[in-house]
Symmetry: C2
Subunit: 264 residues, 2 copies
């Protein structure tokens, strides 16, 4: 646990939002994968991702989104905009959000300086050592350029491999709650056939969130995946049994699905 880590109290569930920063996401150049990865990472740690937003490289947009999100959720994770180029403005936007100054962080400066051959630590690369006053660095195993966190905002790189390494580095800093337990059951049936039964199961299991996700295969086959989620593993299991029994009333063999191979 980093001694400058925010002081999270102890509770069973936490709320978070992700703010994806970058023109490349909104132009369609880049398919974001960070939200999905962060969602899974947080879920395993009992943190509920409640909202995600994607904004352009425009300081006013970033500040407005951060101000809306940081007062609503326990913490915010941002991705993108911390590189060396002119369009990397996340650190400045965070400083503006918190009303603090920004400058070279000695540790970040030293890390980066050591990374480059003599003479190659140029003014633009030094931008990556600029961190809002009062922020704590988030180092990572891939690049010398660190992320940082200040207040309840955690600032990661946009490049997925680096964002993931920074997330790992935050494992002792972010709070932990009780992980959400999920069971996914697949069946080769149209969701409209099981919808009424599923609604009854949802009503009978109000503390379990039940979702229904149809899929359509290229060969014309189709089916539905039914997901039961709750922090109460026994409650999820009970709802899952009810879902399996529902599918069987239609003569459909229910199959528990490995979340890692779920269909769209």
């Amino acid at each position: 646990m980093n001694k400058s880590a925010p002081h999270f109290e102890s509770k069973s569930s936490w709320t978070a939002a992700v703010l994806v920063i970058g023109d490349e996401i909104l132009s369609g150049r880049t398919q974001d994968t960070n939200v999905n990865y962060i969602a899974r990472f947080l879920g395993l740690r009992g943190i509920d991702l409640k909202e995600a937003r994607m904004v352009a490289d425009v300081e006013g947009e970033i500040v407005a989104a951060l101000n809306a999100l940081r007062g609503t959720y326990d913490f915010i994770i941002t991705t993108g905009g911390i590189g060396p180029t002119h369009d990397d403005i996340t650190a400045d936007a965070i400083a503006a959000t918190f009303g603090v100054g920004i400058g070279y962080h000695p540790e970040a400066y030293a890390l980066l300086e050591a990374r480059y051959p003599p003479g190659e630590f140029n003014e633009m690369r030094k931008r990556m050592a600029r961190v809002p006053h009062g922020a704590t660095l988030v180092r990572n195993s891939i690049s010398a350029a660190p992320g940082f966190h200040i207040g309840n905002v955690f600032v990661l790189a946009g490049v997925p491999a680096i964002a993931r390494a920074m997330l790992e580095a935050l494992d002792g800093v972010l709070p932990r709650g009780v992980a959400v337990h999920a069971i996914t059951i697949g069946g080769e049936i149209a969701e409209g056939q099981v919808a009424a039964g599923l609604a009854a199961i949802q009503k009978a299991h109000p503390d379990v969130a039940i979702g229904s996700y149809p899929y359509y295969r290229a060969d014309g086959g189709y089916g539905v995946q039914l997901v039961a989620r709750s922090r109460d593993a026994a409650a999820v299991e009970a709802a899952a049994h009810a879902i399996e029994a529902l599918l069987q009333t239609f003569g459909v063999a229910p199959q528990r699905v490995n979340p890692a191979v779920q269909r769209d």
Copy 2:
């Protein structure tokens, strides 16, 4: 042009936001691909995607996001939550947002009724015919269940293939502006080396948005993709020439990149 289409005036650029609705996105179960597809679709039509948000299947969250977005941007596209199951609440949330009633749309009802064998158009499937009063249907080539639009909000399915078909169906309804022209130039050089020159090019070409996106290959190779974007094709070409000249000063061969094969 649908006669009930919203009356968009004529202008060269439009702004839009996407609202992705669904627990499955925020739990990490499903990797969203609709934002990226919609971003590209809109870009080709001169519409700037300015923001995207992802919220859960919670009516209050959907209404709050819609109210924030629909007053800010020319129009909003939503995905998800229009199926037959209990967790499909988008139509109700849209009705609440606009303060209108909701009920079976005769055309949607007839489309769906014709789709199912006698006796199989059950109460839950009829939910897919429920549309806010005053909305216009968005039919699609894949499923009988339509999307709809009301005011400046366009409501699509979440299943990517169906969302895409609905988007195609909106081609004559959504406004068109002047498409953004983009040139992407790749070079095998660290972005920190070209960052100062790139900042100077951005300053000299203020009407062109210049972005810098580093990449790292599994074999240890790395490089940067530099993107110039503007509605003024000549201005993009001029900025692209300046970027190519910059790379050449470092002895790097610039390569124009097909946007369809851009790296992350």
